[in-house]
Protein backbone atom coordinates (compact mmCIF):
# COMPACT_ATOMS: atom_id res chain seq x y z
CA UNK A 1 0.00 0.00 0.00
CA UNK A 2 2.74 2.42 1.03
CA UNK A 3 4.88 1.49 -1.97
CA UNK A 4 1.97 2.31 -4.26
CA UNK A 5 1.48 5.50 -2.31
CA UNK A 6 4.94 6.73 -3.29
CA UNK A 7 5.37 5.36 -6.84
CA UNK A 8 1.90 6.26 -8.00
CA UNK A 9 2.48 10.04 -7.95
CA UNK A 10 5.34 9.70 -10.45
CA UNK A 11 3.19 7.65 -12.81
CA UNK A 12 0.32 10.09 -12.32
CA UNK A 13 2.60 13.08 -12.96
CA UNK A 14 3.76 11.46 -16.21
CA UNK A 15 0.17 10.74 -17.24
CA UNK A 16 -1.00 14.31 -16.51
CA UNK A 17 1.98 15.71 -18.41
CA UNK A 18 0.69 13.98 -21.55
CA UNK A 19 -2.62 15.87 -21.39
CA UNK A 20 -3.67 19.50 -21.86
CA UNK A 21 -4.99 19.70 -18.26
CA UNK A 22 -5.91 23.36 -17.69
CA UNK A 23 -8.45 25.49 -15.88
CA UNK A 24 -11.28 24.22 -18.10
CA UNK A 25 -10.42 20.63 -17.34
CA UNK A 26 -10.25 21.56 -13.67
CA UNK A 27 -13.87 22.70 -13.91
CA UNK A 28 -15.07 19.82 -16.07
CA UNK A 29 -13.00 16.72 -16.84
CA UNK A 30 -14.69 16.26 -20.24
CA UNK A 31 -12.55 19.16 -21.50
CA UNK A 32 -9.44 17.05 -21.03
CA UNK A 33 -7.56 15.80 -24.07
CA UNK A 34 -4.51 13.60 -24.45
CA UNK A 35 -1.89 15.53 -26.39
CA UNK A 36 1.04 13.12 -26.29
CA UNK A 37 4.40 14.82 -26.01
CA UNK A 38 3.16 18.26 -27.02
CA UNK A 39 3.76 19.78 -23.57
CA UNK A 40 7.37 18.62 -23.70
CA UNK A 41 7.93 19.90 -27.25
CA UNK A 42 6.45 23.29 -26.38
CA UNK A 43 8.51 23.47 -23.22
CA UNK A 44 11.77 22.70 -25.01
CA UNK A 45 10.97 25.40 -27.55
CA UNK A 46 10.43 28.06 -24.90
CA UNK A 47 13.48 30.23 -24.10
CA UNK A 48 12.09 30.74 -20.60
CA UNK A 49 12.45 27.03 -19.81
CA UNK A 50 16.11 27.04 -20.89
CA UNK A 51 16.64 30.19 -18.86
CA UNK A 52 15.15 28.53 -15.77
CA UNK A 53 17.23 25.41 -16.39
CA UNK A 54 20.41 27.48 -16.81
CA UNK A 55 19.70 29.44 -13.61
CA UNK A 56 19.07 26.24 -11.67
CA UNK A 57 22.32 24.71 -12.91
CA UNK A 58 24.14 27.91 -11.96
CA UNK A 59 22.66 27.75 -8.47
CA UNK A 60 23.61 24.07 -8.06
CA UNK A 61 27.08 24.34 -9.62
CA UNK A 62 28.12 27.32 -7.50
CA UNK A 63 25.98 26.74 -4.40
CA UNK A 64 26.75 23.09 -3.68
CA UNK A 65 30.60 23.37 -3.61
CA UNK A 66 30.41 26.56 -1.54
CA UNK A 67 27.90 25.00 0.82
CA UNK A 68 29.90 21.79 1.22
CA UNK A 69 33.13 23.74 1.62
CA UNK A 70 31.60 25.81 4.42
CA UNK A 71 30.18 22.65 6.06
CA UNK A 72 33.51 20.84 5.88
CA UNK A 73 35.48 23.85 7.11
CA UNK A 74 33.14 24.38 10.06
CA UNK A 75 33.14 20.66 10.89
CA UNK A 76 36.96 20.54 10.87
CA UNK A 77 37.15 23.59 13.13
CA UNK A 78 34.59 22.16 15.56
CA UNK A 79 36.43 18.84 15.60
CA UNK A 80 39.75 20.50 16.38
CA UNK A 81 41.16 19.76 19.83
CA UNK A 82 41.96 23.44 20.13
CA UNK A 83 38.33 24.53 19.79
CA UNK A 84 36.66 25.92 22.89
CA UNK A 85 32.96 26.15 23.75
CA UNK A 86 32.12 23.51 21.16
CA UNK A 87 28.45 23.08 22.18
CA UNK A 88 27.86 26.81 21.88
CA UNK A 89 29.60 27.14 18.51
CA UNK A 90 27.87 24.03 17.19
CA UNK A 91 24.43 25.35 18.11
CA UNK A 92 25.19 28.84 16.81
CA UNK A 93 26.42 27.55 13.44
CA UNK A 94 23.45 25.20 13.17
CA UNK A 95 20.77 27.74 14.13
CA UNK A 96 20.04 29.02 10.58
CA UNK A 97 19.08 25.48 9.51
CA UNK A 98 16.02 25.30 11.76
CA UNK A 99 14.75 28.77 10.91
CA UNK A 100 11.83 29.31 8.53
CA UNK A 101 13.16 29.97 5.05
CA UNK A 102 10.54 32.64 4.29
CA UNK A 103 11.31 34.56 7.49
CA UNK A 104 15.07 34.58 7.02
CA UNK A 105 14.71 35.42 3.33
CA UNK A 106 12.84 38.54 4.45
CA UNK A 107 15.79 39.44 6.71
CA UNK A 108 18.32 38.84 3.97
CA UNK A 109 16.33 40.90 1.52
CA UNK A 110 17.01 43.80 3.85
CA UNK A 111 20.65 42.91 4.58
CA UNK A 112 21.26 42.77 0.81
CA UNK A 113 19.45 46.07 0.19
CA UNK A 114 21.19 48.51 -2.12
CA UNK A 115 20.87 51.66 0.01
CA UNK A 116 20.53 50.64 3.65
CA UNK A 117 21.75 47.05 3.61
CA UNK A 118 24.51 45.83 5.93
CA UNK A 119 26.42 44.02 3.21
CA UNK A 120 26.94 47.19 1.18
CA UNK A 121 27.75 49.06 4.40
CA UNK A 122 30.46 46.51 5.19
CA UNK A 123 31.75 46.62 1.61
CA UNK A 124 31.86 50.41 1.62
CA UNK A 125 34.40 50.29 4.45
CA UNK A 126 36.57 48.29 2.03
CA UNK A 127 36.07 50.99 -0.57
CA UNK A 128 33.64 49.02 -2.74
CA UNK A 129 30.79 50.98 -4.30
CA UNK A 130 27.21 49.94 -3.39
CA UNK A 131 25.87 46.97 -5.36
CA UNK A 132 22.17 46.50 -6.05
CA UNK A 133 22.36 42.83 -5.05
CA UNK A 134 18.76 41.81 -5.68
CA UNK A 135 18.01 44.36 -8.41
CA UNK A 136 20.89 43.68 -10.77
CA UNK A 137 20.61 40.56 -12.98
CA UNK A 138 24.34 39.93 -12.60
CA UNK A 139 24.27 39.88 -8.80
CA UNK A 140 20.85 38.47 -7.91
CA UNK A 141 21.85 34.82 -8.24
CA UNK A 142 25.15 35.21 -6.34
CA UNK A 143 23.16 36.95 -3.57
CA UNK A 144 20.68 34.06 -3.40
CA UNK A 145 23.58 31.58 -3.35
CA UNK A 146 25.15 33.45 -0.42
CA UNK A 147 21.82 33.30 1.40
CA UNK A 148 21.38 29.58 0.66
CA UNK A 149 24.87 28.76 1.90
CA UNK A 150 24.21 30.68 5.15
CA UNK A 151 20.89 28.89 5.62
CA UNK A 152 22.03 25.34 4.82
CA UNK A 153 25.69 24.74 5.64
CA UNK A 154 25.01 23.79 9.27
CA UNK A 155 23.06 20.70 8.27
CA UNK A 156 25.94 18.96 6.49
CA UNK A 157 28.34 20.34 9.10
CA UNK A 158 26.68 18.21 11.79
CA UNK A 159 26.72 15.09 9.60
CA UNK A 160 30.38 15.57 8.62
CA UNK A 161 31.28 16.28 12.26
CA UNK A 162 29.85 12.88 13.19
CA UNK A 163 31.94 11.38 10.39
CA UNK A 164 35.10 13.09 11.65
CA UNK A 165 34.51 11.83 15.17
CA UNK A 166 34.29 8.28 13.85
CA UNK A 167 37.81 8.35 12.38
CA UNK A 168 39.97 6.24 14.72
CA UNK A 169 42.55 8.25 16.64
CA UNK A 170 45.25 5.62 15.99
CA UNK A 171 45.39 6.69 12.34
CA UNK A 172 46.34 10.20 13.36
CA UNK A 173 48.84 8.90 15.92
CA UNK A 174 50.50 6.71 13.29
CA UNK A 175 50.66 9.59 10.82
CA UNK A 176 52.17 11.85 13.47
CA UNK A 177 54.82 9.27 14.32
CA UNK A 178 55.64 9.10 10.60
CA UNK A 179 56.22 12.85 10.74
CA UNK A 180 53.14 13.93 8.77
CA UNK A 181 52.32 17.63 9.06
CA UNK A 182 48.85 18.84 10.02
CA UNK A 183 48.10 19.48 6.35
CA UNK A 184 49.37 16.03 5.31
CA UNK A 185 47.20 14.42 8.02
CA UNK A 186 44.17 16.26 6.61
CA UNK A 187 45.04 15.31 3.04
CA UNK A 188 45.99 11.66 3.57
CA UNK A 189 44.00 10.60 6.64
CA UNK A 190 40.96 12.81 7.19
CA UNK A 191 39.72 13.36 3.64
CA UNK A 192 40.08 9.74 2.41
CA UNK A 193 38.34 8.47 5.56
CA UNK A 194 35.56 11.00 5.10
CA UNK A 195 35.16 10.44 1.33
CA UNK A 196 32.24 7.95 1.42
CA UNK A 197 30.24 10.21 3.70
CA UNK A 198 31.16 13.29 1.64
CA UNK A 199 29.84 11.70 -1.52
CA UNK A 200 26.50 10.79 0.12
CA UNK A 201 26.20 14.29 1.52
CA UNK A 202 27.02 15.75 -1.91
CA UNK A 203 24.32 13.68 -3.63
CA UNK A 204 21.67 14.75 -1.11
CA UNK A 205 22.74 18.38 -1.28
CA UNK A 206 22.65 18.47 -5.08
CA UNK A 207 19.19 16.92 -5.11
CA UNK A 208 18.08 19.50 -2.55
CA UNK A 209 19.59 22.48 -4.38
CA UNK A 210 17.84 21.50 -7.60
CA UNK A 211 14.59 22.21 -5.73
CA UNK A 212 15.23 25.95 -5.43
CA UNK A 213 11.95 27.79 -4.93
CA UNK A 214 11.18 29.73 -1.73
CA UNK A 215 14.34 31.86 -1.87
CA UNK A 216 13.63 33.53 -5.23
CA UNK A 217 9.88 33.58 -4.49
CA UNK A 218 10.40 35.81 -1.45
CA UNK A 219 13.58 37.69 -2.35
CA UNK A 220 13.32 38.45 -6.08
CA UNK A 221 10.08 36.90 -7.43
CA UNK A 222 12.27 35.26 -10.07
CA UNK A 223 13.63 38.59 -11.30
CA UNK A 224 15.30 40.81 -12.22
CA UNK A 225 14.95 39.89 -15.90
CA UNK A 226 14.21 36.28 -14.85
CA UNK A 227 17.77 35.94 -13.61
CA UNK A 228 16.65 33.95 -10.54
CA UNK A 229 13.76 32.03 -12.09
CA UNK A 230 14.30 28.35 -11.18
CA UNK A 231 12.79 25.24 -12.73
CA UNK A 232 10.56 24.71 -9.72
CA UNK A 233 9.47 28.35 -9.80
CA UNK A 234 8.51 27.86 -13.43
CA UNK A 235 6.50 24.79 -12.45
CA UNK A 236 4.71 26.77 -9.73
CA UNK A 237 3.84 29.61 -12.10
CA UNK A 238 2.72 27.31 -14.93
CA UNK A 239 0.63 25.12 -12.65
CA UNK A 240 -0.68 27.22 -9.83
CA UNK A 241 -0.68 30.72 -11.27
CA UNK A 242 -1.78 30.06 -14.86
CA UNK A 243 -3.38 26.65 -14.11
CA UNK A 244 -1.63 24.87 -17.01
CA UNK A 245 -1.37 21.70 -14.91
CA UNK A 246 -0.42 19.50 -17.87
CA UNK A 247 2.51 21.70 -18.74
CA UNK A 248 3.48 22.10 -15.05
CA UNK A 249 3.50 18.34 -14.68
CA UNK A 250 5.86 18.10 -17.65
CA UNK A 251 8.22 20.57 -15.94
CA UNK A 252 8.06 18.56 -12.70
CA UNK A 253 8.71 15.31 -14.53
CA UNK A 254 11.72 16.76 -16.36
CA UNK A 255 13.09 18.01 -13.03
CA UNK A 256 12.61 14.53 -11.59
CA UNK A 257 14.47 12.95 -14.52
CA UNK A 258 17.26 15.50 -14.14
CA UNK A 259 17.75 14.86 -10.41
CA UNK A 260 17.53 11.13 -11.00
CA UNK A 261 20.17 11.25 -13.77
CA UNK A 262 22.57 13.40 -11.74
CA UNK A 263 22.17 11.15 -8.69
CA UNK A 264 22.83 8.06 -10.80
CA UNK A 265 25.89 9.59 -12.48
CA UNK A 266 27.31 10.65 -9.17
CA UNK A 267 26.73 7.31 -7.50
CA UNK A 268 28.58 5.70 -10.43
CA UNK A 269 31.44 8.17 -10.17
CA UNK A 270 31.71 7.66 -6.41
CA UNK A 271 31.82 3.88 -6.82
CA UNK A 272 34.53 4.16 -9.48
CA UNK A 273 36.47 6.41 -7.14
CA UNK A 274 36.43 3.91 -4.29
CA UNK A 275 37.54 1.04 -6.51
CA UNK A 276 40.83 2.76 -7.23
Amino acid sequence: MIGVFFVLPVVAALAISLTDFDIYALADLSNLRVVGLRNYVELLERPLFWKALGNTFYFVAAGVPLSLGASLGAALLLNSKLARFQPFFRTALFAPVVTTVVAVAVIWRYLLGARYGFLNYALSSLGIAPIDWLGDPRFAMPAIILFAVWKNFGYNMIILLAGLQNIPNELYEAARIDGASAFARLRFVTLPMLAPMLSIVAILTIAGYFQLFAEPYVMTQGGPLQSTLSVLYLMYEEGFKYWNLGSASAVAFLLFLLIFAVTLLQTRAARGGFAR
Binding site: G3, F88, F89, V102
Partner: protein, 283 residues
Protein backbone atom coordinates in the same frame (compact mmCIF):
# COMPACT_ATOMS: atom_id res chain seq x y z
CA UNK B 1 25.08 35.47 24.15
CA UNK B 2 27.88 36.23 21.71
CA UNK B 3 30.33 37.20 24.39
CA UNK B 4 30.90 34.02 26.29
CA UNK B 5 34.62 33.54 25.58
CA UNK B 6 36.50 32.80 28.73
CA UNK B 7 39.72 34.78 29.15
CA UNK B 8 42.01 31.74 29.24
CA UNK B 9 41.25 30.90 25.60
CA UNK B 10 42.87 34.15 24.58
CA UNK B 11 45.72 34.17 27.04
CA UNK B 12 47.07 30.89 25.67
CA UNK B 13 50.10 31.75 23.60
CA UNK B 14 49.37 29.00 21.05
CA UNK B 15 48.73 30.75 17.71
CA UNK B 16 46.88 27.79 16.21
CA UNK B 17 44.33 27.90 19.03
CA UNK B 18 43.73 31.58 18.39
CA UNK B 19 43.19 30.94 14.68
CA UNK B 20 40.78 28.04 15.27
CA UNK B 21 38.72 29.86 17.88
CA UNK B 22 38.85 33.13 15.96
CA UNK B 23 37.47 31.42 12.86
CA UNK B 24 34.77 29.70 14.90
CA UNK B 25 33.83 33.00 16.45
CA UNK B 26 33.67 34.66 13.02
CA UNK B 27 31.54 31.80 11.69
CA UNK B 28 29.16 31.98 14.63
CA UNK B 29 28.88 35.74 14.19
CA UNK B 30 28.07 35.25 10.50
CA UNK B 31 25.44 32.65 11.37
CA UNK B 32 23.82 34.61 14.21
CA UNK B 33 24.09 38.20 13.01
CA UNK B 34 21.01 38.14 10.71
CA UNK B 35 18.92 36.55 13.47
CA UNK B 36 20.06 38.96 16.19
CA UNK B 37 19.57 41.92 13.91
CA UNK B 38 16.06 40.70 13.06
CA UNK B 39 15.25 40.72 16.77
CA UNK B 40 16.74 44.21 17.25
CA UNK B 41 15.01 45.69 14.19
CA UNK B 42 11.64 44.27 15.22
CA UNK B 43 11.70 46.73 18.15
CA UNK B 44 12.64 49.74 16.01
CA UNK B 45 10.28 52.58 15.19
CA UNK B 46 8.85 52.56 11.62
CA UNK B 47 11.45 53.83 9.16
CA UNK B 48 14.32 53.61 11.63
CA UNK B 49 16.06 50.73 9.82
CA UNK B 50 15.99 52.66 6.55
CA UNK B 51 18.74 55.06 7.53
CA UNK B 52 22.42 55.14 6.73
CA UNK B 53 24.55 53.82 8.30
CA UNK B 54 22.16 50.96 9.19
CA UNK B 55 21.46 50.97 12.96
CA UNK B 56 22.37 47.94 15.05
CA UNK B 57 20.04 48.58 17.99
CA UNK B 58 16.72 50.42 18.31
CA UNK B 59 17.11 53.97 19.67
CA UNK B 60 13.83 53.69 21.58
CA UNK B 61 12.66 50.06 21.73
CA UNK B 62 8.94 49.79 20.97
CA UNK B 63 6.38 47.02 20.64
CA UNK B 64 4.47 49.01 18.02
CA UNK B 65 5.34 46.61 15.19
CA UNK B 66 4.00 43.61 17.08
CA UNK B 67 0.86 45.51 18.03
CA UNK B 68 0.35 46.50 14.41
CA UNK B 69 0.81 42.91 13.22
CA UNK B 70 -1.82 41.55 15.58
CA UNK B 71 -4.23 44.47 15.25
CA UNK B 72 -4.23 45.01 11.50
CA UNK B 73 -2.32 42.28 9.69
CA UNK B 74 -4.24 39.33 11.21
CA UNK B 75 -1.08 37.78 12.64
CA UNK B 76 -2.95 36.18 15.56
CA UNK B 77 -5.04 34.21 13.12
CA UNK B 78 -1.99 32.99 11.16
CA UNK B 79 -0.17 32.09 14.36
CA UNK B 80 -3.17 30.04 15.49
CA UNK B 81 -3.35 28.33 12.06
CA UNK B 82 0.33 27.42 12.19
CA UNK B 83 0.13 26.07 15.73
CA UNK B 84 -2.99 24.05 14.99
CA UNK B 85 -1.65 22.60 11.73
CA UNK B 86 1.81 21.77 13.04
CA UNK B 87 0.36 20.11 16.16
CA UNK B 88 -2.22 18.11 14.20
CA UNK B 89 0.24 17.02 11.52
CA UNK B 90 2.76 15.97 14.16
CA UNK B 91 0.26 13.98 16.23
CA UNK B 92 -1.32 12.19 13.26
CA UNK B 93 1.93 11.42 11.47
CA UNK B 94 3.45 10.05 14.68
CA UNK B 95 0.61 7.54 15.03
CA UNK B 96 1.07 6.40 11.44
CA UNK B 97 4.87 6.37 11.21
CA UNK B 98 5.46 4.71 14.58
CA UNK B 99 3.04 1.90 13.76
CA UNK B 100 4.48 1.42 10.27
CA UNK B 101 8.09 1.57 11.50
CA UNK B 102 7.37 -0.99 14.20
CA UNK B 103 5.58 -3.26 11.69
CA UNK B 104 8.58 -3.16 9.34
CA UNK B 105 10.95 -4.01 12.18
CA UNK B 106 9.09 -6.66 14.17
CA UNK B 107 5.91 -7.96 12.54
CA UNK B 108 6.19 -10.70 9.94
CA UNK B 109 4.11 -10.16 6.84
CA UNK B 110 4.41 -11.17 3.22
CA UNK B 111 6.72 -9.04 1.05
CA UNK B 112 7.98 -7.03 4.02
CA UNK B 113 11.59 -6.73 2.85
CA UNK B 114 10.65 -6.01 -0.74
CA UNK B 115 8.20 -3.32 0.29
CA UNK B 116 10.79 -1.72 2.55
CA UNK B 117 13.43 -1.63 -0.22
CA UNK B 118 10.89 -0.17 -2.64
CA UNK B 119 10.09 2.52 -0.10
CA UNK B 120 13.75 3.45 0.37
CA UNK B 121 14.11 3.64 -3.41
CA UNK B 122 11.27 6.14 -3.47
CA UNK B 123 13.41 8.44 -1.31
CA UNK B 124 15.15 9.78 -4.42
CA UNK B 125 11.84 11.05 -5.82
CA UNK B 126 11.56 14.76 -5.13
CA UNK B 127 8.27 15.61 -3.47
CA UNK B 128 7.50 18.27 -6.07
CA UNK B 129 6.89 15.73 -8.82
CA UNK B 130 3.87 14.60 -6.82
CA UNK B 131 2.44 18.06 -6.29
CA UNK B 132 0.23 18.30 -9.35
CA UNK B 133 -1.27 14.79 -9.00
CA UNK B 134 -1.72 15.29 -5.26
CA UNK B 135 -3.38 18.64 -5.83
CA UNK B 136 -5.84 17.10 -8.29
CA UNK B 137 -6.53 14.20 -5.95
CA UNK B 138 -7.25 16.54 -3.05
CA UNK B 139 -9.35 18.73 -5.34
CA UNK B 140 -11.40 15.66 -6.19
CA UNK B 141 -11.79 14.89 -2.48
CA UNK B 142 -12.78 18.48 -1.71
CA UNK B 143 -9.71 19.03 0.46
CA UNK B 144 -8.16 21.90 -1.49
CA UNK B 145 -8.21 25.09 0.56
CA UNK B 146 -8.80 23.24 3.85
CA UNK B 147 -6.61 22.45 6.87
CA UNK B 148 -6.85 18.78 5.90
CA UNK B 149 -5.29 19.47 2.52
CA UNK B 150 -2.21 20.96 4.18
CA UNK B 151 -1.77 18.02 6.55
CA UNK B 152 -2.29 15.07 4.18
CA UNK B 153 1.19 15.01 2.55
CA UNK B 154 2.88 15.21 5.96
CA UNK B 155 1.13 12.12 7.30
CA UNK B 156 3.38 9.36 5.98
CA UNK B 157 7.08 10.04 5.78
CA UNK B 158 9.61 7.51 4.52
CA UNK B 159 12.23 9.13 6.70
CA UNK B 160 10.00 8.79 9.77
CA UNK B 161 9.16 5.15 9.12
CA UNK B 162 12.84 4.40 8.51
CA UNK B 163 13.90 6.15 11.72
CA UNK B 164 11.41 4.20 13.84
CA UNK B 165 12.26 0.91 12.15
CA UNK B 166 16.00 1.28 12.83
CA UNK B 167 15.31 2.01 16.46
CA UNK B 168 12.67 -0.71 16.85
CA UNK B 169 15.07 -3.37 15.52
CA UNK B 170 16.86 -3.17 18.88
CA UNK B 171 13.78 -4.32 20.83
CA UNK B 172 14.48 -7.94 21.88
CA UNK B 173 12.10 -10.46 20.28
CA UNK B 174 11.99 -12.40 23.57
CA UNK B 175 10.28 -9.49 25.25
CA UNK B 176 7.50 -9.47 22.65
CA UNK B 177 7.24 -13.29 22.77
CA UNK B 178 6.93 -13.20 26.55
CA UNK B 179 4.12 -10.70 26.30
CA UNK B 180 2.37 -12.86 23.69
CA UNK B 181 2.67 -15.97 25.88
CA UNK B 182 1.16 -13.98 28.73
CA UNK B 183 -1.87 -13.57 26.47
CA UNK B 184 -1.46 -9.91 25.55
CA UNK B 185 -3.07 -8.87 22.28
CA UNK B 186 -0.91 -7.25 19.55
CA UNK B 187 -2.51 -3.89 20.32
CA UNK B 188 -1.81 -4.27 24.01
CA UNK B 189 1.82 -5.20 23.27
CA UNK B 190 2.21 -2.17 21.02
CA UNK B 191 0.73 0.23 23.54
CA UNK B 192 2.18 -1.18 26.77
CA UNK B 193 5.57 -2.57 25.67
CA UNK B 194 6.66 -1.08 22.35
CA UNK B 195 5.66 2.57 22.68
CA UNK B 196 7.41 3.11 26.05
CA UNK B 197 10.59 1.56 24.63
CA UNK B 198 10.41 3.77 21.53
CA UNK B 199 9.92 6.95 23.50
CA UNK B 200 13.28 8.62 22.63
CA UNK B 201 12.81 8.10 18.90
CA UNK B 202 9.19 9.26 19.13
CA UNK B 203 10.39 12.56 20.62
CA UNK B 204 13.01 12.86 17.86
CA UNK B 205 10.45 12.25 15.14
CA UNK B 206 8.01 14.67 16.78
CA UNK B 207 10.59 17.47 16.73
CA UNK B 208 11.43 16.79 13.08
CA UNK B 209 7.80 16.72 11.98
CA UNK B 210 6.90 19.78 14.02
CA UNK B 211 9.73 21.88 12.56
CA UNK B 212 9.14 20.49 9.06
CA UNK B 213 5.43 21.30 8.93
CA UNK B 214 5.87 24.66 10.65
CA UNK B 215 8.53 25.76 8.14
CA UNK B 216 6.90 24.22 5.06
CA UNK B 217 6.12 26.83 2.44
CA UNK B 218 5.46 25.56 -1.06
CA UNK B 219 2.68 23.08 -0.34
CA UNK B 220 0.54 25.35 1.89
CA UNK B 221 1.09 28.12 -0.67
CA UNK B 222 -0.35 25.89 -3.38
CA UNK B 223 -3.20 24.32 -1.47
CA UNK B 224 -4.48 27.35 0.48
CA UNK B 225 -6.18 30.22 -1.33
CA UNK B 226 -8.33 31.57 1.52
CA UNK B 227 -6.29 34.11 3.51
CA UNK B 228 -8.02 33.07 6.74
CA UNK B 229 -6.37 29.66 6.48
CA UNK B 230 -2.83 30.89 5.76
CA UNK B 231 0.05 29.56 7.84
CA UNK B 232 2.71 32.00 9.08
CA UNK B 233 5.25 31.45 6.25
CA UNK B 234 2.58 31.87 3.55
CA UNK B 235 1.14 34.95 5.27
CA UNK B 236 4.60 36.43 5.79
CA UNK B 237 5.53 35.95 2.12
CA UNK B 238 2.31 37.64 1.04
CA UNK B 239 2.72 40.48 3.59
CA UNK B 240 6.30 41.06 2.52
CA UNK B 241 5.13 41.62 -1.04
CA UNK B 242 2.65 44.28 0.13
CA UNK B 243 4.92 45.93 2.71
CA UNK B 244 8.22 46.10 0.85
CA UNK B 245 9.21 49.31 2.64
CA UNK B 246 8.07 48.41 6.18
CA UNK B 247 11.26 46.66 7.23
CA UNK B 248 10.64 46.89 10.97
CA UNK B 249 7.14 45.45 10.64
CA UNK B 250 8.43 42.59 8.49
CA UNK B 251 11.19 41.86 11.01
CA UNK B 252 8.58 41.55 13.76
CA UNK B 253 6.68 39.16 11.49
CA UNK B 254 9.87 37.16 10.91
CA UNK B 255 10.48 36.94 14.66
CA UNK B 256 6.96 35.59 15.24
CA UNK B 257 7.45 33.05 12.44
CA UNK B 258 10.87 31.75 13.30
CA UNK B 259 11.28 32.22 17.07
CA UNK B 260 8.88 29.38 18.03
CA UNK B 261 10.85 26.80 16.01
CA UNK B 262 14.16 28.10 17.34
CA UNK B 263 12.90 27.69 20.91
CA UNK B 264 11.59 24.18 20.25
CA UNK B 265 14.93 23.30 18.67
CA UNK B 266 16.98 24.70 21.55
CA UNK B 267 14.84 22.88 24.13
CA UNK B 268 14.97 19.51 22.34
CA UNK B 269 18.31 19.84 20.56
CA UNK B 270 19.63 16.50 21.77
CA UNK B 271 16.76 14.57 20.16
CA UNK B 272 16.99 16.55 16.93
CA UNK B 273 20.71 15.93 16.48
CA UNK B 274 20.23 12.23 17.19
CA UNK B 275 17.68 11.94 14.39
CA UNK B 276 19.98 13.82 12.04
CA UNK B 277 22.81 11.36 12.68
CA UNK B 278 20.61 8.25 12.38
CA UNK B 279 19.17 9.42 9.09
CA UNK B 280 22.50 10.49 7.69
CA UNK B 281 24.70 7.57 8.65
CA UNK B 282 22.42 5.15 6.80
CA UNK B 283 22.20 7.50 3.84
Amino acid sequence: MTDRRAPQAWLLPQPAAIVVNGLLFAGAAFALFPLLWMLAASFMAPGEASTYPPPLLPAHPTLANYRELFAHAGMGRYLANSILLAAAATALSLVFNVMAGYAFAKLRFRGRERLFRLMLGALVIPGQVAMVPLFLLLKHMGLVNTYGGVIVPALASIFGIFLVRQYALSIPDDLLEAARIDGASEWKIFAAVVVPLLKPIIVTLAVFTLLGTWNDFMWPLIVLSDQNLYTLPVALASLSREHVQDNELMMAGSVLTTLPVLIVFLALQRYYMQGLMMGAVKG
